[in-house]
């Protein structure tokens, strides 16, 4: 009996020990970490969530992904590689493969489908929770909600042009929700974008100096204008889809051609221009084209930019893909096709050599004869950059030494760095007023109003220091406008989608598919690659043969998502 008691006593001790020590040994966090309630209490914390919504939602198309595969944007390389403006010769980069093999459902894409939803969720989370912030006024809370709506609209627009109709999500999905939401039709998606933009119309027209980067009332107008423009362009505005999706054709095509869509695009763009001009935005035109175009594309917070991507962070920033002083840029070689689009300064055509070698001195003189927009955007071999005159940081010697492997190319891009000196960050223009003039030019031409088309086009031509266009034949004028798009918005991320939505006939031959060329050089023995005298001659060679197939008109949904059974894959993937 005594033994039993003692054994029972020991057992008791064990049990007491277990229970009494549990809190000591099995701790849990003491609630000091952030959660949704602690973020949305005070404005100094809430603004961080707002900032992150901007960072995520506006990143599409900008190479912020840079080896971080789960992020937004192109994964190394820029969208200019994809449309033949720039040539990527580095086979460790995604854009290298996309141009040579096309996009595919089971690997790299031009954007990150999943990331669109991460961005949208962030915006909705802010929208849902901003009411709880105690030290924001009601009007500020309302304004932030409108900003978030516009950011969601922007994300939907980016998906609209890449995928066609996509699932419509109207709020934060929780894990318990049924997350299986099918694609909306093209029309429903467009309507959703327009509705969000209309809802966001109460945004302020201007912000204090330290908040200039936020969405103004002009941005929902701009998003709507761009959405209408893409809705009017031939890829969607058509009886038949580019490839058949049978019963689901309405996901990628409106099913009819309706000229009214062009009219809506024209009107919507005009609304943007009207709003902009009324709110101190201008097409910068002081009569000095190189400086004007340079300022408009490069200077932070210049009066031509309605919205820019302002992520100005450390040495992994996206600017490295645009700044010749960084190694990442040597994947972007100016193509022969892009160079050929530029006019000479007097508006006439330049003739460039073919496969037959020509003396290098001719390269120098022909480059010097080019229009100001080229000079504001290009570094030509051996010539100190035009857009940073008398700046040793931007002379031929510094640039070559910063990137000694620069070799075959027609030139390199210096766009966005007009008189930038050693500044190593940039604001990437998202909406620049010039875009809406070209929108109008394009749309008015399609509805047969060549006068309006020309007047808007020539605003851009005049700023560029080029003679006015007088062509009235719609087909000829369309080609001229499209060329103007290519030049004016070189490297601004438009052309890859423009050429596809225009359904250009030679997509497979020299635009996306087909041979892409650049210059190659021979050198004299002294061989510094810096002085004109180091070069002997130059000629064109084929850099690579691009891939085009009709399925590439729209992007593929990732196979992993399609396999979940809620998405109709775009045709041909």
């Amino acid at each position: 009996m005594k033994k039993t008691l003692i054994i029972a006593f020991f057992s008791l001790i064990l049990i007491v020990c277990i229970t009494s020590c549990q809190d000591e040994f099995l701790q849990k966090p003491v609630g000091s970490d952030l959660n949704v309630d602690s973020i949305f209490t005070k404005k100094d914390k809430a603004i961080m969530a707002v900032a992150q919504a901007y960072s995520y939602c506006l990143a599409t198309g900008i190479p912020v992904a840079d080896w971080v595969g789960s992020n937004a944007g192109v994964n190394h390389g820029t969208m200019d590689d994809l449309c033949g403006d720039m040539i990527n010769m580095s086979n460790w980069e995604d854009t290298y493969w996309i141009v040579r093999q096309g996009m595919a459902a089971n690997w790299g894409n031009e954007d990150n489908y999943n990331f669109h939803w991460i961005a949208i969720r962030q915006a909705y989370l802010v929208m849902d929770n901003i009411q709880n912030v105690t030290d924001y006024s009601d009007s500020t809370k309302n304004q932030i909600q409108l900003e978030m709506k516009a950011l969601v609209a922007f994300q939907y627009l980016e998906m609209f042009k890449r995928y066609g109709g996509v699932p419509i999500i109207k709020d934060v999905l929780t894990t318990n929700d049924n997350s299986v939401i099918p694609r909306a039709t093209l029309q429903e998606t467009l309507d959703f974008i327009v509705k969000l933009c209309d809802d966001a119309s109460g945004l302020p027209n201007t912000y204090p100096d330290n908040q200039k980067g936020r969405l103004t009332a002009g941005i929902p107008l701009a998003i709507k204008a761009e959405a209408y423009l893409f809705a009017a362009r031939p890829l969607f505005n058509s009886e038949t889809s580019y490839l058949s999706l049978s019963a689901n054709n309405n996901l990628i095509c409106f099913g009819n051609y309706d000229p009214a869509r062009w009219q809506k695009a024209a009107d919507a763009s005009k609304a943007v221009v009207d709003w902009a001009l009324a709110n101190s935005y201008v097409i910068i035109n002081t009569g000095s084209p190189l400086d004007d175009y340079g300022n408009a594309t490069s200077t932070p917070n210049n009066p031509e930019v309605l919205l820019a991507y302002n992520l100005q962070i450390g040495d992994r920033g996206f600017y490295r893909h645009y700044n010749l002083h960084y190694w990442d840029v040597n994947t972007n070689y100016l193509s022969y096709e892009m160079l050929s689009k530029y006019y000479k300064a007097d508006g006439t055509e330049q003739t460039w050599p073919d496969a037959t070698a020509r003396p290098f001195s001719e390269y120098v003189s022909k480059m010097q004869a080019m229009e100001p927009r080229l000079k504001a955007s290009i570094y030509a071999f051996s010539i100190d950059t035009w857009n940073n005159p008398n700046d040793t940081y931007w002379n031929a010697s510094t640039i070559y030494n910063a990137n000694a492997s620069l070799s075959s190319a027609c030139g390199f891009s210096t766009k966005f760095w007009y008189k930038a000196g050693t500044r190593n960050w940039m604001n990437f223009p998202i909406y620049r007023l010039a875009e809406f003039y070209l929108n109008m030019a394009e749309a008015f031409n399609e509805v047969g109003n060549s006068a309006q088309a020309l007047s808007n086009l020539n605003v851009i031509r005049q700023r560029a220091g080029l003679p006015d266009i007088t062509e009235t034949n719609p087909d000829n004028l369309r080609a001229i406008i499209q060329r103007e798009w290519a030049i004016e918005f070189f490297r601004e991320g438009h052309r890859f989608h423009d050429v596809k939505h225009w359904k250009l006939p030679n997509l497979s031959n020299g635009i996306i598919g087909g041979d892409h060329k650049y210059f190659t050089y021979t050198f004299s023995n002294t061989n510094s690659h810096i002085l004109a005298s180091d070069y002997n001659n130059y000629r064109t060679i084929v850099a690579f043969t691009g891939y085009w197939n009709a399925n590439q008109y729209l992007n593929p949904f990732p196979l992993t998502e399609v396999n979940k059974g809620y998405l109709v894959q775009n045709p041909g993937y």
Partner: protein, 1177 residues
């Protein structure tokens, strides 16, 4: 949330209970009585006093000795089962001329009163016979028992092995001695005999360490593998974990690197049973305390008595939520009663690389690349074509062709000088060999002392180990970029019996190591970055990248070479890169201490003990990042006199040092209390254990800065009847802080049973089966190492986006002179899963153990199967529309099954002893469920296949004719570009398109299904040899990237096997063997680079893993004058020879494919040839 008071009160109550336990263990000196009984005991080389203590422990008798000097000799070896106590005592004391009297509960030992033991009736026929008994080495056997067969007449041999005994008419003498085969001889007509005993083949009764205790091997019902100190020492490797390779059935290892200090193998027990990649490691337990693999690997193998691997649920259930992946139990040596035994060993070894990738020389490289450019038809790369002159220069190691020299207006002597100098620009290098070609020393010393009295036993050991890296020229200019690993080990285990009924054991150990080596790009220290980056320079440098060293100077640039741009080299070499890399040096100290108090409660009830154990571990690592600047030169040929070499540069920059770089610390507190019961009632033996433990681990980097806790109760009950019928029940009940409060603790039961058929009375004795046991176990264990973040059950959290390319945003305006201050971003980081719990494993094991042919042959066969569920995985079926980082859920399921077969043959021919052992183990797993969306074809799913199953296209030779090319199925790999010499893929689903739908399971996974080893040992008069061979089958190794395509970035290296094996039209036409597709600048990205069975190599191999040869000097006069009892000299080698049919040169089949190794970017594995001497005093 805690309040301060709460914290204190819970802490004190916890402490109180612990103290109470300890006090109870001290208290009480009662005595109880018990009748005479049968006793089982097993002692080897013990003293009389130890025997007495054993008797006192196992019975209620107290032993007293009267006017007697008790011998301190360690000459008592006894092994009895259920023998009457009186017989046991008589057997020992009678032979020592001692008399034993039983007096109430006291045994009195006194000098024997000489008695004539002869029966009076036989007196006349008696005579005396004398003899000597020796062992195989002609050494006298002391203490052997000599008896007249069938009588009680008995004597024992003296220190010279001599005996004398009175004979009756019985002339059959029986000689027995523990560990030796008994002999019966007929002595009729003889008066003296010399008898040589032979060592018994039957291994001594082994004690097996199990979870929280020990068991006799015969009565174990779980699946447990063991390896002893001898085998561990033979490997001569730095890591204990690596020394286990090939020693235990069911344990597989793959090595990730050969770098000193970073070469630990990844260990798996019975393959892989969970698809949770971060929860596959077995639990490591050192002397009862849970530790990390790193702590085990920093032990000195000399300290280790043995290692046991617990494999099935029966063995691991006591570890509950940590037991699912098997347990590795390390037991350190402890002292034994006797005079101090001092042992000193010294080892010196040489390490070298086992094999290196073979790159082409410059000439072959140039031919290969020209062919690639021509094959590709990519005119953009024409500038990269080598000219005929350049080819001539590479082939002849000259910078100028004779024609060029003739045109240069040089004197004959200048020309001769240039030609004799060889090339500066057109050189050819094997960078791998120049980088890793060195041999490096490895030294190890150990001094240990052990011994004890009946009051205190002790074992103390100090050890030193050092190993250097194999990088060539590593100290050029004071760079010192080689890896160094130096370790000092100290251990002291003391057992004290100074208080009645109370045993105190105190273990202290310390390991101090210095570990240095290069860091990776951006000073990253992970293994995936460090040597990967360095090797990347090697594989991305053509063989003519640099002249390397010229006149002892490191060349990093070239001067005056008009052709530099044509060769596209800057003159910098991988050698320069490594020499300029930053070095991280880590000083680590790991200190551990534990105290165990064991109180015997025989006065309450016999066989009852309680114990309490407290242990504390502390680790501190201090890091230093340094950079030693070295001189780098540019070299060139003087333009005005090319026979003159001109050097420039050589400027040495400042050295830099960053102190306290990457410091690390951690500590762990562990407490355990237990009640133990072990008692034999007649034919039944019952044991029981109830143990409560708790553990707290902390380091400053733990998420939320909350220590990791673990606590639980473990219990075990065993019952055996006459050692015939064995039953065991194990139960773990424990929890981890990772799980929600209401769902923290889990119950993990396991039941096992065994039947020793050969112990049945009806079992035929002396049959060819001498031992037969069947056993089976069934049980459930858990795995709380679910990976990823902790406290998954907490509600959704938000966090800073931190240093991220998408971090935060800047709103403000700017005039362009400076960026505006931005806002740091915050976003939802994770969503909670309130139901998170541990993985559950249900394991079964069925086994047969046999010994045959008088124990010469032993066999163990195990079959096991395991089903695991609740595996924490991300749900692949939820759509990404949610846009959140969703928590994983406990939904994954996996199964695993296999077998282990162990065979051993041990025999002797005269004094020639030998043994052969073989193990074969097999395991195959299958993913049963992982919430994966259904793919179009079942083979595209991960579900249904093994974990890590490789997938890719099936290939069918090459496109050898244009007709084949013209009719090829559409290939999505490279936009349908296919040409002659490309790899043909099979269109599995027959849709005319080669795409992801045609990627099917190919080969196996990285962990081989079969592992086997074969070892052989020979002993002859002091000589011994042992050989261990290991091999695996059904494992795969993928070749990736650099192993698929040469000329990455237009100038990366090319491998010799690529050049030799390349497809050419001529080879195809003549039917020669082709092992590589056509030369191309881009085989990585074109049609040929897709994952396919062509690039998946079989890791099947056989390797002479270890060989040891030794000679032992014993009983040499000059040695005994130095108090040396034994000297052994030996040499062993590790990773001696490898046969692998499929792996490319430079890739070791034991190497993991992770961290870039599949592209050839890993620090190569090394071979060790070691010489050693061990002296025992």
């Amino acid at each position: 949330m805690y309040t301060k008071n709460n914290l204190i009160s819970s802490k004190t109550s916890c402490l109180k209970t612990t103290i109470l336990m300890v006090l109870l263990a001290f208290s009480g000196l009662l005595n109880a009585q018990n009748p005479t009984q049968k006793i089982s005991m097993s002692l080897k080389d013990a003293t009389i006093k130890e025997l007495i203590k054993e008797i006192e422990t196992k019975t209620n008798y107290s032993v007293v000795y009267r006017n007697l000097q008790i011998s301190e000799k360690k000459d008592v070896t006894i092994n009895v089962v259920e023998m009457p106590l009186m017989d046991v005592i008589n057997m020992v004391f009678d032979a020592r001329n001692l008399q034993v009297t039983f007096n109430n509960r006291t045994i009195v030992i006194s000098e024997k009163i000489k008695k004539n033991i002869k029966p009076a009736s036989l007196e006349n026929k008696s005579r005396k016979i004398t003899g000597i008994i020796t062992d195989e080495n002609n050494q006298p056997v002391i203490g052997a028992i000599v008896s007249l067969n069938g009588t009680k007449s008995i004597t024992i041999t003296d220190v010279d092995g001599k005996f004398s005994i009175e004979l009756t008419d019985n002339t059959q003498l029986k000689i027995s001695y523990i560990g030796y085969e008994p002999q019966t001889i007929d002595v009729s007509g003889k008066s003296t005999v010399a008898i040589s005993l032979r060592q018994s083949l039957k291994a001594l009764d082994e004690i097996v360490v199990v979870g929280y205790g020990t068991q006799k091997k015969e009565t174990v019902t779980g699946a447990i593998g063991s390896v002893g100190n001898k085998e561990l020492m033979q490997a001569s490797v730095a890591n204990v974990g690596n020394a286990l390779v090939g020693r235990i059935a069911g344990l597989t290892a793959i090595q990730t690197s050969g770098e000193p200090g970073n070469n630990a193998a990844t260990l798996r027990i019975r393959g892989i049973s969970t698809l949770n990649g971060s929860g596959q490691d077995p639990l490591i337990v050192i002397d009862g305390i849970q530790q990390t693999l790193e702590v085990m690997n920093s032990m000195d193998a000399n300290e280790i008595d043995g290692i046991n691997i617990l494999k099935d649920a029966s063995a691991t259930a006591v570890y509950g939520v940590r037991g699912a992946n098997g347990v590795i139990i390390v037991t350190t040596k402890r002292g034994k009663t006797g005079k101090p035994q001092i042992s000193f060993s010294s080892n010196y070894g040489v390490t070298m690389v086992t094999s290196l990738p073979q790159t082409t020389n410059s000439y072959d490289y140039a031919l290969f690349r020209n062919q690639a450019i021509i094959n590709d038809g990519n005119t953009a790369l024409n500038p990269f074509l080598f000219t005929a002159d350049q080819l001539w220069k590479f082939k002849n190691n000259q910078d100028y062709t004779p024609q060029e020299l003739a045109n240069m207006n040089l004197t004959t002597s200048q020309i001769a000088k240039i030609q004799s100098q060889g090339a500066i620009y057109y050189t050819s290098h094997d960078w791998f060999k120049e980088q890793y070609g060195a041999t490096a020393p490895q030294t190890q010393y150990n001094l240990n002392i052990s011994g004890g009295t009946d009051k205190v036993k002790y074992f103390s050991s100090v050890g030193y180990f050092s190993q250097d890296g194999i990088i060539n020229n590593a100290s050029y200019g004071g760079a010192d970029v080689n890896s160094h690993y130096t370790r000092y080990n100290f251990r002291s285990n003391v057992d004290a019996y100074i208080l009645k009924n109370l045993d105190i054991s105190i273990n202290t150990s310390a390991e101090f190591s210095n570990n240095s080596g290069i860091v990776g790009s951006s000073n990253y220290t992970d293994m995936g970055s460090r040597f990967k980056q360095l090797n990347q320079y090697i594989v991305e440098s053509p063989p003519f990248a640099s002249p390397g060293f010229v006149d002892g100077k490191l060349i990093t640039g070239l001067l005056y070479n008009p052709s530099i741009s044509d060769l596209n080299t800057s003159g910098s070499s991988p050698l320069g890169v490594v020499l300029n890399t930053n070095i991280a040096t880590y000083y680590t100290s790991i200190v551990s201490g534990s105290i165990k108090l064991k109180h015997t409660l025989d006065y309450l009830t016999k066989g009852l003990t309680v114990h309490a154990l407290v242990s504390y571990d502390d680790r501190y690592t201090k890091g230093i990042l340094s950079h030693n600047s070295i001189p780098g030169y540019s070299v060139g040929r003087n333009p005005s006199d090319p026979s003159q070499l001109v050097f420039s540069g050589g400027v040495v920059g400042a050295n830099t040092i960053t102190d306290n770089w990457g410091n690390y610390k951690e500590r762990k507190f562990y407490v355990e209390t237990a009640v133990n019961y072990n008692r034999t009632f007649g034919k039944s033996t019952v044991t029981g254990l109830v143990l409560a433990n708790a553990q707290k681990y902390s380091n400053p980097w733990l998420q939320y800065n909350v220590p990791q806790g673990l606590m639980g109760i473990s219990s075990r009950a065993t019952y055996n009847y006459y050692e015939r019928y064995l039953v065991e029940f194990n139960l773990g009940y424990n929890g981890s802080e990772n799980f929600p409060v209401n769902n923290r603790f889990g119950l993990f039961p396991a039941l096992s049973a065994g039947w020793v058929a050969s112990n049945e009375p009806f079992f035929p004795k002396d049959a060819f089966i001498s031992w037969l046991k069947v056993r089976a176990s069934y049980g459930e264990v858990g795995n709380d190492q679910i990976g990823g973040r902790r406290f998954l059950y907490l509600p959704s959290t938000w966090g800073s986006t931190g240093y991220d390319v998408l971090a935060g945003y800047s709103f403000g305006s700017s005039n362009g002179s400076s960026p505006n201050a931005g806002y740091t971003g915050v976003t939802e980081t994770t969503v909670g899963n309130p139901f998170v719990t541990w993985e559950r494993a249900v394991k079964q094991d069925y086994a047969l153990e046999m010994k045959l042919f008088k124990d010469k042959l032993s066999l163990t066969a195990d079959y096991f199967s395991e089903k695991r569920d609740n595996i924490l995985i991300s749900l692949g079926t939820t759509t990404n529309l949610i846009g959140a980082n969703l928590p994983p859920a406990n939904v994954g399921k996996m199964s695993n099954h296999g077998f282990e077969l162990q065979l051993e043959w041990r025999d002797r021919i005269e004094s020639f002893n030998y043994w052969i052992k073989g193990n074969l183990s097999f395991s195959k797993n299958k993913i049963d469920y992982m919430a994966e969306p259904n793919n179009v074809y079942p083979w595209m799913n991960t579900t249904g296949f093994s974990y890590g199953q490789y997938k890719g296209y099936i290939t069918n030779g090459f496109y050898n004719t244009q007709a084949e090319v013209n009719n090829h199925p559409y290939s999505t790999t490279d936009a349908n570009k296919v040409q002659l010499g490309d790899i043909k893929y099979v269109d599995i689903n027959g849709d005319g398109i080669i795409d992801s739908k045609d990627a099917v399971p190919i080969g196996y996974s990285a962990i081989p299904q079969y592992a086997y080893n074969l070892s052989l040992g020979l002993e002859y008069k002091g000589f011994d040899i042992s050989i261990l061979g290991i091999g695996t089958a059904n494992g795969s190794f993928p070749s990736t990237f650099y192993f698929i395509g040469p000329f990455f970035k237009d100038q990366s290296t090319a491998y010799q096997w690529q050049f030799d094996g390349q497809w050419t039209a001529a080879k195809a036409a003549s039917g020669q063997s082709i092992t590589y597709p056509r030369a191309s600048m881009n085989n990585i990205g074109n049609n040929n680079g897709a994952p396919s069975d062509f690039w998946l190599k079989s890791t099947d191999f056989f390797k002479i893993k270890n060989v040891e040869i030794g000679y032992t000097f014993k009983k040499l006069n000059f040695l005994s004058s130095l108090q040396i009892s034994q000297i052994r000299i030996y040499s062993n080698a590790n990773n001696l020879l490898t046969w692998s049919k499929d792996m490319v040169p430079g890739m070791d089949p034991e190497q993991a494919s992770s961290n870039g190794a599949s592209g050839g970017l890993m620090y190569p594995l090394t071979r060790i040839v070691n010489f050693g001497v061990k002296i025992q005093f």
